[in-house]
Symmetry: C2
Subunit: 750 residues, 2 copies
């Protein structure tokens, strides 16, 4: 490939929508660009500066992505917090303050649950006093429902009108994009703006969804936006390089979503990214660090700790507790798999039935049902994040909530206070409400994930797991209280101090359930301990997550993201799944027997007219070049786009006749032209003389391995040096689908 071709013929290196990219080619293009910059480094001061800029552009770009991602996340957090409180009431003196900020200006010293005089609830504004009981509650209920439906309806309308790609969690699509697929507009500016606004709306609406997954999408949009700045053209104009920035951006997304920079990097590595060289690891690390740091500066959580669900468990765990922890892992795996199956079935139904035609109506119905059912139960009424925080926390001595209604003995002051105590009626009532909340969340999230607004899954899954964990934890705690001397507790409970803490179970349960849904492992554990700030519980967390993954994988191979990729037919060549068939390249390639023969170019025997008709009559993305039609020994490969552009530009600059010979090889001297025969056209520079080739006897597993690891777009199949056929990524995906008895035409691809 001629290295100046890019500038010469505009448009080379670009891909059409829904096409797959050729990593090798793009990386090679970038290396050429880099070399030419290095070569010219000493020519002038400008060139020297350009070379410096080129070396630091990657770091600069990810820093900007980190800064912007941190800021956007901060704005979303603050906005969502304000809107959430808007459902309850308003600060008449300064409407832009949320309840907490509103009460800061108050002089009330008792700020229990931030109910102060400055803050007016809607019934109060309507003139209904708190004391009026049922009337007050009922009006609150109605206003809650109205706001919920309004917020989610508005979000659905915005998505529908301005940015249809802004819906969903976006992670399946980002996985597909990072694996080398083009979806134009998916990471566009409008998607960024609308998704950010809608995230505030939907988080505030009280629907059973989280904003953590969509923040990854938002962050990738930021990455895409910044990489298209002129000073980062190295990334903006090279799809393979751009994906390095996107990998870093997705790390930043998780970093700001959970305040977990290292978890973000690992999430990007384990779950999202496809091509992840070590350089990208370091950049992602840096990007996630900056993003977390900026967000810390904004401090939207408003607490001193950097972590979202800070816990401070004072006691270690005993060996016996591994049994309930693993039990929680198993439950997490089962719940996760159940959820995935139900959700996929419902999404399939939506796709196939008329339901898909009324996205806004669907959102409104889901919002209405959610609001109606969630308000009566205090655990579902509150924000999921708040619920998780409460479930994770230990019961303090002064804690007056139902969940902490223990019959503690306060009479003996000198006796060290027992952590363990008999549960009071409030605890039993809480268990009942929590079980109801679990069932409600599980059912409603199945219907919520996939509607046409931004919907994340992390928080709902963690919430389900935390509820389950807390319930199991309370049960364990009561067993330990009743039988403190059982040998299984290893003496830890005999003193009554430092025995079972239900909060730990909630934490483990949350990890297990999230693991069951997403099938993450290492990154999940790291996220959990960055989220809670407790390093001492790695072994319980790891055990539960492993159990959850094993059980989940035994019940159904795919995590939720892979299942959605499959459902939508994205051309994603999974690097986790093993290909277990014994087919050969010859079984997968085109043309198979009975197919029309391959459209070929010959290196020195075609005319301009031949090429024109070939381009008219075929629509392949590229054509192999062979020595001659008879021998079919392979010479190289030409992309359709390059051929079209080269012909157009040749027609513009030189005189071409229909019978002008076109050469695709070096040795033009064998046919020099002249004497009435027109001067031949040499298109050697557009030929890729190093196409990746395999033999027809290559096992398909090797072929798939090459596609995955080298990021190929196509390979050419030869036998004893002769060209037999071609295998594209689409052929591979269709072949896999065919072998696993699925419909091969469900793959979305051009």
């Amino acid at each position: 490939m001629d290295k100046d071709l890019d500038t010469e013929l505009f448009g080379i290196g670009q891909y059409d929508d829904f096409h797959t990219i050729d990593w090798q080619r793009d990386i090679a293009r970038d290396r050429n660009r880099h070399r030419s910059i290095v070569r010219r480094k000493k020519e002038s001061l400008l060139e020297s500066f350009r070379s410096k800029h080129d070396a630091w552009a990657g770091w600069l770009c990810v820093s900007l992505v980190g800064i912007l991602a941190g800021n956007v996340a901060g704005v979303i957090d603050i906005g969502a917090g304000w809107m959430k409180d808007l459902k309850d009431g308003i600060c008449p003196e300064a409407f832009y303050l949320n309840r907490e900020q509103c009460c800061w200006s108050s002089n009330d010293t008792v700020l229990e649950n931030y109910n102060c005089a400055q803050w007016k609830t809607w019934p109060q504004l309507l003139g209904i006093a708190r004391a009026s009981g049922f009337g007050y509650s009922f009006v609150s209920y109605i206003i809650y429902i109205l706001w919920s439906v309004f917020f989610s309806g508005l979000a659905a309308l915005l998505v529908q009108t301005f940015a249809p790609y802004a819906c969903g969690s976006g992670i399946p699509e980002i996985k597909t994009i990072l694996s080398g697929f083009i979806i134009r507009g998916y990471l566009g500016k409008w998607t960024l703006i609308i998704k950010s606004i809608c995230l505030m709306l939907v988080t505030a609406s009280g629907l059973s969804l989280g904003k953590e997954g969509p923040l990854v999408h938002v962050s990738c949009c930021i990455g895409n936006f910044i990489s298209h700045w002129p000073c980062f053209s190295k990334y903006g104009k090279n799809e393979a390089k751009k994906r390095e920035i996107l990998s870093a951006a997705s790390a930043a997304g998780v970093s700001v979503a959970f305040g977990a920079p290292i978890g973000g990097v690992l999430f990007s590595l384990e779950e999202v990214s496809y091509y992840f060289p070590l350089k990208t690891l370091w950049r992602s690390f840096f990007c996630a660090l900056i993003a977390a740091f900026v967000l810390r500066g904004i401090n939207p959580f408003g607490n001193e700790h950097l972590v979202k669900f800070y816990v401070d468990y004072t006691r270690p765990w005993v060996l016996f507790e591994l049994i309930p922890f693993i039990f929680l892992g198993i439950c997490g795996g089962v719940i996760g798999t159940l959820f995935i199956r139900a959700n996929i079935r419902w999404c399939k139904h939506r796709k196939e039935s008329k339901l898909g035609q009324y996205p806004i109506a669907e959102v409104l119905v889901v919002a209405l049902v959610t609001a109606m059912l969630s308000f009566p139960n205090e655990f579902t009424r509150m924000d999921s994040s708040d619920l998780i925080r409460i479930l994770f926390s230990q019961c303090g001595i002064a804690d007056a909530s139902d969940l902490c209604d223990y019959k503690r003995n306060f009479t003996n002051v000198n006796k060290k206070l027992s952590n363990n105590a008999e549960a009071g009626p409030g605890v039993y009532k809480s268990i009942y409400l929590l079980v109801l909340a679990l069932i409600f969340k599980l059912v409603i999230t199945v219907f919520t994930f996939g509607i046409k607004i931004p919907t994340g899954l992390f928080i709902p899954s963690m919430c389900m797991g935390a509820i389950l964990g807390r319930v199991v934890g309370i049960v364990m705690e009561q067993i330990a209280f009743q039988y403190p001397k059982l040998w299984i507790f290893g003496g830890a409970c005999s003193t009554g101090i430092n025995c079972m803490t239900p909060g730990i179970y909630a934490m483990v349960g949350a990890a297990a359930c999230l693991g069951g849904v997403t099938r993450m492992t290492v990154s999940l554990v790291v996220i959990m301990f960055e989220l809670t700030g407790s390093v001492n519980f790695i072994v319980p967390l790891m055990s539960a997550v492993m159990a959850s993954k094993w059980v989940g994988d035994a019940l159904g191979k795919e995590g939720i993201y892979d299942a959605h990729i499959n459902l939508n037919g994205y051309p994603f060549l999974d690097s986790k799944e093993e290909f277990s068939y014994t087919t050969l390249a010859a079984d997968c390639m085109k043309p198979l027997r009975n197919d029309p023969p391959l459209v070929l170019l010959t290196q020195d025997s075609m005319t301009v007219d031949d090429l024109d008709s070939l381009l008219r009559n075929s629509h392949h993305n590229g054509y192999p070049v062979v020595v001659s039609r008879e021998s079919q020994y392979l010479v190289g490969f030409v992309l359709r786009k390059d051929l079209q552009i080269a012909l157009i530009s040749a027609k513009r600059t030189t005189e071409l006749y229909e019978n002008t010979r076109v050469f695709f090889s070096g040795n033009t001297d064998i046919f020099p032209g002249g004497d009435g025969i027109p001067q031949p056209l040499n298109l050697k520079r557009i030929v890729d003389f190093a196409p990746i080739t395999i033999t027809d006897q290559t096992p398909m597993e090797t072929v798939i391995d090459m596609f995955r690891k080298l990021g190929l777009r196509q390979v050419l199949v030869t036998h004893n040096g002769r060209l037999l056929g071609i295998i594209t990524k689409k052929d591979v995906l269709r072949h896999i689908k065919q072998l696993s008895n699925e419909d091969p035409d469900s793959v979305l691809f051009n």
Copy 2:
């Protein structure tokens, strides 16, 4: 390849010493094995059990590796602790107890520094009372030196006599082995036993080295040992699969070394492993978990916390402190690079001069010098791990050591005690001693790392960084004490409480220095916070580590392990370095112009005699098969070893004549034999009909990428379908060396 060939011809799939493995081939062999097991699953109960076992063998194997690694690490920790105290004295009532355990049985309530009546120091045993001042100290000094020299001399002798591979840290070699190289015996049983014993000895000897790196080697030996059990033949008999277990084992090694399971997995991923599919990630995770869990059961650190250097910093950091943190990062990068350069120069000198012939003498001299110089300074006399713990910790109020000699005001009881205080003379004395210790450690470690006993670098590097960090921290603390109202502290120091903590600086400095030496990033930060249990300091740690890496990379590209790989000429194809030259495959392949032509097989025109002479006269590892000597169209590839074995077995079972034709392709019917012409021999089954081929115009960067990502042993180079030459991994490595103006013959290879 015929799938039953393995069993038929023993020895296929094995490699010679110092050879490189062919991942694609090994993985393909394993898939065939797996398929045949799955196929026979329903034949009998035994086969069904075998299939179940096959599915779980990987998990079972890594569990066993984890259990054994945890136990071995526990034994080493306990043994090293006992020997360390042996330098000081003995417990006459029960010689097998260390000082701490010895004192447990005592009834003394004051156990300051574990000096109790039960424990007898050597001078006491010799009848010299503590009170006798100089005499007591001098005898202690002499005995300390004698023990040190004895321990290290014994270790050197053991290594020299029984297991020469047990020396060094082992990480460079393990990186090379995991990248697909065979070093027989490097992971053998003797290496395991001797290295474990020597680790106790050298740790106790007080040399400036750590046992953390070598524990990775020990753990890999365990992995190798267990994978050779008959029930895990899947791993033991397949070098590519075995490396999956070794990756997991190296994660377990770090996990037990630092009590950092997640850090271990990331270390394995970032630093050690080459081929790391997600399945290996999960297995490594599990293996590290088990190992950490077993070690926790043994509890060699003897404290309640799971982490080695538990810290409990109560105050957050202020933005301004990022400046000293980044300064520490820069210092870490500079110290690391200085250390690497000096150490490599010394090791080169050792290799080239006569010094290398007296390994035991060298160890004795280093031990003697270390012991003589380290005893007088209390900070170098104590164990490096203990020093790190002290440097990391905050000064308590009752702390009487010199390092904590602050002029605190205890008169006003009601006033909240100020954390900040003016440093007393003890602190200044400590700074002086710490600076001396830093210089001493830096110099002596240069000479220690590389001597012929097990030597790790983690602890010495961290120790240097911690000293530097603590000194900088004390300086910052005193600035903050003198000028508490400076705007840069943002009001954090105006109250005098919760201001600078020198311990945090020590932690950051340790990470920076370790980062400078090893050039790790993400894994290092994770290890640091698993090691200290503090999640709140991710941003300072990350900033320092990034700064350290940038500065280090600017001063010298290689980390210590890569530098040692290069020094020893191991054939390691680094996946981090970018290949920046524009050469093509044609420039690297053999034969180049003027070389003798390639040794070839033809598919149907060779006789047994031809093959015999070909095997006699050439020593390549494999031979390409072509259609005919004239056309040279490529058919396949045959390994030398396979050809030898196939000929021998054919000679044993059938009648072969010198002129018997040998076919390497399917169509034997063109030459059926009979009528006096001997029956031809068909060796089709040993031909690999799917060799990886490239064209001569392929850029070398693509070729290197293929070698790295596909784990190739060789590629065949073609032009228009004709075979031109062959590129082996050795050719690639020599080519890289040549281009960077190094001696291409320094690559160790067969």
